[in-house]
């Protein structure tokens, strides 16, 4: 297995972090999957299952927790008991976990605890592009920011050491272009041993007001100690020479390096690897040595504001540029073009941005051929009134936003479909159907559903249960029989949970039977009160892997009346127009068997 090898390998940034944790002999790894962080934990999961499969003892414990808050809490307890722990999540996962770690910062840890946040500038796969570096300042937690996979591995190990030195969890902040960049990484020797923690009683760890008041100044003392470390850290270094300076961190450092090289710029570059607390002394020295300075960082002016405060406090009279200069903006990720352009202007160099206009039709992602969500959406659209409100949630099924389904009207975050469903059902007289996936339901849907039951809200919740966390790469969830280590787990019975919290109207359907699905949705809409429909059918990508043989469908051209319902209403990507004829691409057809139920002329037949 490559991740357990040695020597130079090409690794994904996320794999490098997983490897770094293994080289640091991590004891506990927890996560809730989320792009662009998922491959960190998936790699750890693969290692665990590989070792188990080879009959070896797995020297660490790994868990896909129900949500990021639980993941942090599990790891915090482990680290408080002296073990090394890693928790990884996407940026918005930090919001879920924040309730735990804002106070965890007060309590601190004994074993090293690294919290990885994978931010997503430009929202490649996310609902916002928040800059989680602000969490480091907000919670007073030290933070490291790698620029490439090699640094991602090295800084993971450094973060464990730093965490143990300060007795504080440490944030490792990456972005999509570090998480999903591949690069050459040198793998060192692994020395993994299974360890058992010990909880020592009597520490200041029950954060009642009296204790919390004692702990806050302690935290601030730790951060002062961290600032000293930051000033001495080799992760914060200056290279090059010149009168002008560039200060940068993370992925932007890569763009700066190449721009300086390609444009022939003479300057000093301050590369910040430990970006909270900022190395104030080192920055002051740098500012004093420069005639003017430009800060290159994506999203918020996090470094820039910190640097301006340092300049003001130390009375250094130097012009500092950053956000608002040329095309340096607070939104979207930076690209080489943006950085080249800004630096060319700043240093008076020639750089012409290439601008070739092409008109390429977009190709947005769609629900897969055979996806059971399509059947659910088709059925719902057949029976629900036109002005029905569809609060949706985070998962593949958010793609219901696209025509022809248009079954997504409102989305905030994980679990919001049910919370906002409560609100819309109260605020309007319209029908409300909330869609939520199974993994998302366990993650953050349950408290909202309890709210809906308790306050007797009148709407429909459709739980799209495809037995996996599909969008992020098919990670297991609490409904599954096997956990992330490949061990047997106790599957949660969703129907019992829903009934157990008091939902009076519950139906479980297989959406691939359209007649059954339509009738069930109709009954749920007519029910006076909260109704839950569990629409249960496995993710087609998983089912295809398990099934050896599949039947496929074709269109009997003699029977086809070209009404195109299959294309315009059902919209399975396997269908296409070949001149005037509707056809099914046999390579894409999964044989799910739903489209024959859609065709009013029985023109869709099994290929014999």
């Amino acid at each position: 297995m490559e991740l357990l090898g040695i020597g130079k390998k090409v690794l994904l940034g996320n794999e490098a972090i997983a490897r770094g944790a293994l080289e640091a002999d991590v004891d506990v790894v927890t996560t809730y999957p989320g792009t662009p962080s998922s491959e960190i934990a998936d790699s750890i999961s693969m290692v665990a299952r590989y070792l188990k499969g080879s009959g070896e003892e797995v020297p660490f414990y790994f868990q896909y927790s129900t949500n990021e808050k639980v993941a942090i809490e599990f790891a915090a307890a482990s680290a408080y008991a002296g073990l090394r722990a890693l928790t990884c999540m996407m940026h918005v996962g930090m919001n879920v976990a924040s309730d735990a770690f804002m106070t965890y910062a007060y309590v601190g840890c004994k074993g090293g605890h690294v919290i990885v946040t994978a931010d997503d500038p430009s929202c490649h796969s996310s609902q916002n592009e928040q800059d989680n570096r602000l969490y480091a300042r907000f919670a007073s937690l030290p933070m490291l920011e790698p620029s490439n996979p090699q640094e991602a591995k090295d800084m993971t190990i450094k973060a464990f050491e730093l965490s143990e030195k300060l007795k504080l969890p440490v944030i490792l902040r990456i972005t999509t272009r570090v998480a999903h960049a591949r690069g050459v990484v040198e793998l060192k020797k692994l020395n993994m041993k299974k360890k058992i923690g010990k909880f020592e009683k009597g520490g200041l760890a029950v954060t009642v007001p009296d204790v919390a008041r004692k702990l806050h100044p302690v935290l601030l003392e730790k951060i002062e100690k961290a600032r000293k470390i930051s000033n001495e850290s080799e992760l914060n270094f200056v290279e090059g020479d010149g009168e002008y300076g560039i200060i940068t961190s993370g992925v932007s450092y890569n763009f700066v390096k190449e721009a300086v090289d390609d444009l022939g710029i003479e300057c000093k570059i301050f590369k910040i690897g430990m970006s909270y607390p900022l190395p104030d002394e080192k920055i002051a020295d740098f500012l004093k040595s420069c005639k003017k300075v430009i800060v290159i960082e994506e999203l918020e002016p996090f470094l820039e504001e910190g640097i301006k405060v340092i300049a003001k406090e130390k009375k250094i009279d130097v012009e500092i540029f950053g956000k608002g200069y040329d095309a340096l903006k607070r939104y979207y990720e930076y690209s080489p073009d943006i950085v080249y352009s800004a630096l060319a202007k700043f240093f008076g160099k020639e750089w012409k941005m290439e601008n070739v206009e092409v008109n390429a039709t977009p190709r947005p992602p769609v629900l897969c051929p055979g996806c059971p969500h399509r059947a659910t959406y088709y059925a719902v659209k057949q029976v629900a009134p036109e002005d029905t409100i569809y609060p949706t949630d985070i998962g593949c099924y958010t793609l219901g936003l696209l025509p022809p389904y248009e079954t997504a009207d409102f989305l905030l975050c994980m679990g919001s479909s049910i919370g906002t469903g409560c609100g819309f059902s109260h605020a309007t007289k319209q029908k409300v159907i909330s869609f939520i996936g199974d993994s998302t339901f366990y993650h953050a849907g349950l408290p909202a559903l309890i709210n809906a039951v308790h306050h007797n809200h009148n709407f429909v919740v459709v739980i799209l249960d495809n037995s996996t966390t599909a969008m992020t790469g098919h990670q297991p969830h609490p409904g599954n029989e096997i956990d992330g280590m490949g061990n047997e787990a106790i599957p949660i019975d969703m129907e019992k949970v829903v009934k157990g919290i008091g939902v009076k109207y519950v139906e479980v359907i297989d959406p691939r039977n359209l007649k059954e699905a339509k009738e069930a949705i109709k009954r749920a809409l007519e029910y006076d009160g909260l109704s839950v429909v569990i629409s249960k059918a496995p993710c087609i990508l998983l089912e295809r892997k398990l099934k050896k043989e599949r039947k496929i469908y074709q269109i009997n051209q003699e029977k086809c009346k070209k009404c195109k319902v299959c294309i315009t209403k059902f919209a399975c990507p396997a269908f296409y127009m070949d001149g005037e004829e509707v056809k099914i691409n046999p390579a894409l057809c999964t044989g799910c068997g739903v489209c024959p139920q859609v065709c009013p002329f029985n023109a869709i037949e099994v290929v014999e």
Partner: protein
């Protein structure tokens, strides 16, 4: 030395696997390599692109107009990525369109193939290949990405040794499919030899 290519296509065509093979082969030949890929939502039939860069490089993505070549598994995706390639660069593209599902619904239009090719040829050197045909000839449409790798190798776009790429293919692909993929690689290579 800096060399950059963009490998583009549609989810499911093996774009990321192909880019990985190139990156690993570059390391075998002793080059520094960086690569970027996008996951997640992009996998559901959306467009996929990977950048592979070797030599004195840091950035995992390229500035517009600086890539040495675009290797596209689908014509519309070649067009989409055209701004990335430099003026004297190469666009190697397969000729078999995959119609975006939204176009089938009547939203947007797939451009005429000739329009796509003319637009690319106006900007840089265009090389077309029917990789679907060659992949089927090799034994499976799933070897299309390796056909494209064979063609790319024949064009000597990157200074990576042929045996390094073949070696990586053999290590990456499950044993029972190796023979088929080696054939696909050769067919892609031969096709390019025919054109020169």
């Amino acid at each position: 030395m800096k060399k950059s290519i963009v490998i583009a296509g549609v989810g499911g065509q093996g774009v990321i696997t192909a880019a990985n093979i190139v990156a690993k082969s570059a390391l075998k030949d002793g080059y520094n390599v960086v690569m970027s890929e996008l996951h997640g939502m992009a996998q559901r039939g959306g467009n996929v692109e990977c950048t592979v860069r070797i030599g004195d490089v840091y950035s995992p993505i390229v500035a517009n107009g600086t890539a040495d070549a675009i290797i596209s598994f689908e014509p519309l995706e070649a067009l989409r990525n055209l701004p990335k390639v430099k003026k004297e660069g190469i666009v190697l593209t397969d000729v078999n369109p995959i119609i975006p599902p939204l176009v089938s619904l009547g939203i947007g239009k797939y451009p005429e193939l000739e329009e796509i090719f003319d637009r690319i040829a106006m900007h840089c050197k265009l090389i077309k290949i029917n990789a679907d045909d060659l992949a089927r000839k090799a034994g499976s449409i799933l070897t299309k990405n390796v056909v494209m790798l064979g063609a790319m190798t024949a064009l000597k776009i990157l200074p990576i040794k042929e045996e390094s790429i073949l070696g990586t293919i053999k290590e990456t692909i499950p044993e029972k499919y190796v023979e088929m993929n080696v054939k696909a690689f050769e067919l892609g290579k031969e096709e390019m030899a025919k054109k020169n």
